[in-house]
Structures are given as C-alpha cells and as structure tokens.
Amino acid sequence: MKSKIKYAVKVFAAGFIVIVLLSIPLFWLRLICQEILGENLPSEAKCINMQPCGLVPPEIENDPNVVYHSAVSVNMNTGALPFYGIINCFIAKPAFNNYFSEKNWSYFDKKLGLIVCAYAPRMNVDGKVTLAKAVTLYVGPDGISETKAQNLGRFVAPIVDTGNIHSASLVLTGYDRGLRCFFAVNLEKRVVTKGPQLSKDDFHKPIQIGRISGILRSEFNWSPPMTEVKDTNEKGDSARERKPVQSKPIINYTYSAGQYELVLDESGQIDLLDKETLVFAGKAGFLPAPQTLYDSKDSVTPKDLLDYDVLPLTLKTDNKYSGCFVKTVSREGTSMALAVFDEKGRMIKCDYTKTQSSSGKTIESSVAFFFFSPAAPVLTITRYLLENLQPPILSMASFVTADSFFAVAGHNALFILPNSFVAMSARRIDRTITAKLFLAMIYIILPSLVLSIWLTCKVARDAAMVGLSDKARFYWKIGTILFGLTAYITYRLTRPSITLVTCENCGKLRRPDMENCHRCGSKWHVPELTAPAWRVVD
C-alpha cells in the first residue's frame, strides 16, 4: 500500500513538473505565431478613421470656410508585450497608478479607511503661479483633515478618478463600492460632498470614473474642423516654393464631459454623473462589441475587452457636453470597434476594423488576422496545432470557462487558454451549446484527441510489457486520454526502469523482480532437466 502511495506521489510530482515545463515553451511558440500574425496584418486593418466625426454641429462642420472636416482616428496595438504579467504588475499596481510626482500623489489606506492625498496648493506671487509646500490630507466620507482624525468616517472600497489627481485637479470625484454613493473632494476648500446612496434595486456598479480606459491607455486622435490660414507673407508663385496649406481649428474644445463626469459601469454602460448633485444624469453610451472570428455576444463588459478607451468632448461654442468616442479592442486583440455617441447617449456612428481582400471584398480584421494576411494560414495552422498539444482536459476547461477570465489575463494564460480557438468557438452565439460542443470536439480539439488516443495505445502496450498492474494500466489510460502529451512524458519519466528477462515458459519478456511472469503467470521454477538415456559416441 505504501509503495502504491509513493508511486502515485511520484507520478503526480513528475506530472506537475512536466505540465509546467511543457506549457512555458508552448506559450512562447503560440505568442510568436500571434505576434507575427499581428505584424502581418495590413495597417488599414489596425486603424479606424471617421470623417466627419459626427459630434460637431452641422452648421460648423458644413461651414464653407472649412477645408478639413472633423476627424477621429484610433489605432490598434496588436503586440502582446503590454499584457505580460510582469508589466501588468507595474502598471496595475495602485501605488504606481497614483504616484505622479513628489508633491502629487494619493492612495487608499485600508487600515484607516481614508484616502491619503498630497497636493501642492498653487500660489500667486508677483503675478507668477508657483506651487507651495505639499500638504498631506486625510479624506474620509465625513470630512477632510491634515491629521488622521476619528471623525472623518471610513471608506470601504473607493474608486477615484486618477486622471484628476494626475492633472493636479483640486476636485476629486469618486465612488465607494461599500457605501454605494458618489463623493466629491475639494482639496482647496477642504470639503467632502457625499451624493445620495444608490438604492438596493439600482443595477449600477461603477468601476471607473472620469478617465475611462483599459490597461493600455491608448490615445485617440481627434481633430476639429479646420479653416485655411492665408499666409500674407507668401512670396513667389512657384509651386515648389509654396508652403503647405496651414489650417487652424474653427472651434475650441476640451476633452472633458463638461458639467458631468463619465462613469463606467461593470455592465459596460457609460453613464453621466452630475458633478454638482452627484447623481446620474443620463446615459453617455456603452462599450461597443468588436467583431470577432465567430459571431459573439452583442453587448460586452470591460472584462470581455482587451482594451477600451473613452474620449469625451465638450465644444466651447456652448460649453456643454457634446458626446463621446468609445473604442474597444476584442478579447483576442484581433479587431477593434469605434463608436460615437451624442450628448444623449445615442449611438451616431460605429465602425469596425476591416481590410480589402485582393478581389476587392471587405473582410473583417478578425478574419484577415487569421486567414488573409501574408503567411497567415501557415501561422494559424501552427498555432492551432500548438494549442492541440495542450492536454485535452485543459482544452475542454478552456471551452467551459471561455468567458470567465478577464481578457487581459487571457493573454498570459499557460494552462487554460481563453484566447484559443476552442474558447473562441465556445463564445459564439449562433449555435446551441450542444452544437458548439460537438463542433469543438470534431474540428478544434480533434488533433489533440487523436494524439491522446495514439499515446494511450503506446502507454497501454508499454505498461503491459513492463508489468504494471491492471489497475495502474487503467489509470494510465485514463490519464493519457485526459492529459495527452503531458501524461505520456510523465509516464516515460516514471515507468519502472527494469531490465526485462525472457520468460522460460512463454518466451516473452518478464520482470525479474516479480514472483510470477506478468504475461503467462508462470513461476521462476524451471522443470529439472533429466539426462537423456541416449549418448552420442564416436
């Protein structure tokens, strides 16, 4: 019994070592395929341009003096580098997010339940604005103080607009997930204003306020309508000497939501929060779902997206919030969507990354990524085969948990692969669960299953030869079917390394450390040789 436990422990230990050491090179190989596929994707399939953008009033956009219409463009980063765990550790750490300079930082002290915030007040000395000595303030839901006073109350799990801290804004807007209310902190006046508590049946679960963006914090390129500036000092008529047309914006604008703050909800909805009353003032938009290889769900949440970004716009013509641009990148990082929402949260425009095939047909970037860019079919098949070297049980786990993991975490997955083909097929909405499972088994993990069955046959044959018990052989067969290559390597590392001898009864190889031959069951005793009665004589 003890030896059986020892053998089981030995097998599990070896199996774990093998699965870890096998998963890491497979990860790099898959990543190389992904990176080359991303690099080869045509540049037009990585960006979206909208002109006119749709947020500028028609009377301004169609002004006869306008030479360039308003435009918005966004680019998709197909590289996987920003999603490595080690980089995430630095980017996602609150300490690194909230420290901007020696005089400008903040953090949430869990023990105190207070937001600790340092800022340097601006002073006007002889007409010059200078920063005074930094002050450290302790902010609670009930007040603000320079000391850790008890009467400040306690925050439970606050989220604060870090963009405001970055820009040295004196008013911070936040939401406490425990207290379920918004709050505004005026650092200059040292006042904390609390909004009404959200009712229990309110579906809102805010996760970001103000600057709404994913991990990449990529930039939008927006340009207002431009008018031509005539150069009065221009000399010479030669076209070669002529300077390019200079232009200037016809309107002034700010990248803010004016009297509102944008609030991103866990459901993917973007709301407007009134800065004064700290209550929701309406809908600003939602995260549009990018097109994927298989038709997946129409509404997405921040968890489903590799990256997202929201750019609010306020035109100085009326100083009112005009609307916002919302960019989303699919979980796999193969496609992007850009939507424009007006001030009432209605979608005006929406576009997706796409490219043209050689025959002039429009292809979605998610399809072009895998099949239509140079060398894409070879790399896609290589990636498909590499995914099939994963244990079949983990492929099935990827199928079952396709939507459970954060999109960013999926890019550094080692064992369960949320971005694999099998997981992508699990996310499609145009099939029933049975059909999806059937298709996944037949088309996507078929090579993995075939490999597992072939390796199981090899293991079963070898296990019979080395004399493993029926029970052990049964477990090895099950293990190899479930874990495929990993189980096979583990078996090779842990199989009894005994030199076999020929059985005198059956003639097959048998183990010398067993009392009976494991093939025919005969004992070691050899019938005594009796000398024949005849002799050979000269």
Binding site: A13, L21, W28, I87, C89, E102
Partner: protein, 206 residues
C-alpha cells in the same frame, strides 16, 4: 543536524562566499546610485540581478549533488549514525539559508532606502516585499532544479539539463508576473521537485 548543515556550508564555502560578495556588490551599487540621485523606485536592474542570482542558485544545487556523488560524501556519512533523509534535509536547509543570506540584506536595504528616500506611500513597501517573495521562490525553484538534476549520472548532461530547465522555467515570472497565482504555481513546482529529488536520492544506490 547542525553538524551536517555546518559540513554542507563548509563544502559549499566558495558559493557561500560568492553569495556574500554578490550581496555586498548589489547593496553597494544600489546605495551609491540612490545617493547619487537615482530614484529608489528605479528597480530596472532588478530583473538582471535576479536572473544572475537564480542561475547561481541552480549551479549551487548541481554543485552540492555533484560533490556528493563524486566525493562519495553520502557513502561515507552513512557509515556514521546518519540517515539519508537527514543528509538531504541538511543540504536543502543550507541552500535555503544561502538564498536568504543574499535576499534578506538586499530587501532590508531596499526598505531602509525606501523609508529614507522614497515617497511616503506604504503600498511601495508591500510591493518590495512581493518582489522579495517572488525572487526567493524563483531562486529556490532553480536551486531545486539543480538538486534534482545534479544527482544524475552524467556531469555535462546534468549541468546543461539543469541550466536548460532553468532557462525554460524562469520566464514564468515574465509571463505571469508576481501575482498570487504565479507564486502558487512556483510553490507547487518547488514541492514537486523536492518530492522527486527526495525519491531519487533515497532510492538510488550510492
């Protein structure tokens, strides 16, 4: 047990001294850089230093096992009232102590510098402690790879095999970062390697 540990340290005195010198160099360079104006949060050279250290740890594991095998230390010790179990435990404790000998002073220096020159945000302290735990686990895992492969019969094969496995294993921290999931994987990996080493060392003829 203490005698066995002392003997193990004496056997690996070159590596222990190397570890002390490595620690002194890292601390001196870091302190001088900080005093010359570099931010204490500038830990860009940490991955390089950690990489070198993990390779050293792997070599230490191989060294201990190879020395035992070639000089027949265990064969000799087993003539005394000592068991193989105690020999292996003493060896692992020695490796553990050498790794701590390097990482603890560096971490303490980092925390002192952070206290003195860093921003007054306590989250940085936690971050430095996370880095310490991650580096310790990765170093110990590489040391265990060395121990596991060092007991193999071929000298070149065991050395190259260990270094190859270390190079395969180290990027785990790049892929997964120093998240709790990654640390759980590394901890289980260490446990699996120790079990395999244990079984190998206990059952192989000396």
């Amino acid at each position: 047990m203490l005698t066995l540990i002392k003997r193990e340290i004496e056997d690996a005195i070159v590596l222990v001294l190397g570890a002390v010198i490595f620690t002194a160099i890292v601390i001196t360079v870091w302190v001088s850089c900080v005093y010359r104006g570099m931010s204490v949060l500038n830990i860009g050279s940490w991955p390089t230093a950690a990489f070198i250290f993990t390779i050293i740890c792997c070599v230490m594991g191989i060294w201990q096992m190879r020395t035992d095998r070639t000089k027949k230390i265990s064969s000799f010790l087993l003539t005394l009232p000592v068991t193989r179990r105690r020999i292996l435990i003493a060896r692992i404790i020695t490796g553990f102590l050498v790794i701590l000998l390097v990482l603890v002073p560096i971490t303490i220096t980092a925390l002192v510098l952070l206290q003195r020159f860093g921003p007054p945000i306590p989250l940085y302290k936690d971050f430095f402690l996370d880095i310490f735990v991650a580096t310790f686990l990765m170093s110990f895992a590489c040391y265990c790879i060395g121990l596991h492969n060092g007991w193999s019969s071929g000298k070149i094969a065991s050395t190259l095999g260990s270094l190859l496995l270390t190079l395969i294993f180290l990027p785990l921290v790049i892929i997964k970062g120093i998240s709790p999931q990654a640390l759980v994987i590394v901890s289980l990996f260490i446990a699996a390697l120790l079990i395999r080493t244990w079984q190998k060392f206990m059952t192989t003829s000396l």
